[in-house]
Subunit: 241 residues, 2 copies
């Protein structure tokens, strides 16, 4: 059957030649769900988007948006996460990344379960009015059901870890922003002070943003150069905006 030694990846071709194996685990299988930590910036503070649960357990309680994985419909758990996010706040997240998979007996009163968690960065400009959706600064969250507190803690840690040396926080901003906007966002996500001059150098050297020619934000001060994410930083999705 495997005369060529090894098979690399199960493609659709060899799936049809492989007879379907109805093998089931001899053990009861857990529930598989996805939960999402959605970050945004409001009033220059790093915030989390929470939604009131529609079903038991914890019906009506604020929690991370989540749901079961739909084996028939979802291509994978990331697709499930996108579906959950779209269903909850009506938009596609510009930045979405798998965080961690939580599991065990204790996390859900329904029993042993697995939750594949994702975190996403969402510019507040994309947020409309949504029923049952509320935002909270990450340093002033309500108590959360299940192990969602743990999930949030890990999401914040990951975001902070990545923010220091990547373009991540820029995804929390709208298309145009000033150097100071970006500076504030980085300070918020990292949770510490950053030197303005050094920050400017690092960001520009890395080439993750580019100035928009002739575009400035005016006000009671020297006009501020407007920047945008460098085109090479954008996903195919973003470029379409």
């Amino acid at each position: 059957m495997f005369s060529n030694g090894y098979l690399l990846l199960t493609t659709k071709e060899n799936m049809t030649t492989t007879e379907p194996i109805p093998l089931q685990s001899t053990h009861r299988q857990p529930l598989v769900m996805v939960d999402t930590a959605l970050f945004t910036i409001l009033d220059q503070r790093l915030c989390l988007i929470l939604a009131r649960r529609k079903d038991a357990p914890f019906e009506g309680v604020l929690a991370l948006p989540g749901g079961f994985v739909h084996v028939q419909e979802d291509a994978d758990t990331e697709a499930a996460a996108r579906r959950v996010i779209h269903g909850k706040i009506g938009i596609d997240a510009p930045y979405l990344e798998q965080l961690f998979t939580f599991s065990g007996m204790a996390r859900d009163p329904r029993g042993w379960s697995v939750s594949v968690t994702y975190y996403a960065l969402i510019p507040s400009s994309l947020l409309g009015r949504n029923d049952g959706v509320e935002t909270f600064p990450v340093d002033a969250l309500p108590a959360l059901p299940f192990d969602h507190g743990q999930i949030v803690a890990q999401a914040v840690e990951r975001l902070r870890g990545k923010a220091t040396y990547s373009s991540l926080p820029a995804f929390l901003l709208p298309g145009e922003f000033t150097m100071n906007d970006l500076h504030r966002i980085y300070e918020q996500t990292i949770g510490a002070r950053l030197d303005k001059a050094s920050f400017r150098h690092k960001i520009l050297d890395q080439g993750i943003i580019e100035p928009i020619p002739e575009r400035f934000r005016v006000g009671a001060h020297r006009p501020a150069q407007l920047y945008r994410l460098a085109s090479r930083m954008l996903t195919a999705f973003e470029r379409r905006i």
Copy 2:
């Protein structure tokens, strides 16, 4: 029922007061398994431990050690991974970390599945003789079944990413090692040349290892100081060794 507003975490206490909710997902649930990428150093090369599969599909083919999650027995997926590793090579992995959760229709001929993957670092000194277990340099692997090639690629990437600024590679070494041993391991895992002097400085400044007083490795050269992982770097498990 939730008169105090919110519940933080589902503890054993409130699990008994919460009536068991036999709620099931309205959708068919996927198979949940764990797969492990086990790294070790042999002949000063970064290697991966593979095992021949005992069951269909791909029976007899070399693959990442893995298995189904046992809802009854496993505390969580990490416990399942530890069980798999122990069953396969008979030891507990000194360093074990969750890598990524792969999912979807295409990865397993049995249908839609979820694999929570882990990677582990195992000093070759702990490896005994094991039936059906073989090691391969990561840059000379056989073709692998399922999506295991992808899993390995991601594991190597993660290891390389973390190695640069952490104590990770030190877990691939036995209890005592020289600065040169460590230097070689870092070069292997990172896959690039590192300046010896700078390396020495960085490692010692970070305090991830400490010299063992009065202990040297002798040979046809100036005796080399022996080091060990600084005690604060060790897990509770490691300290017992």
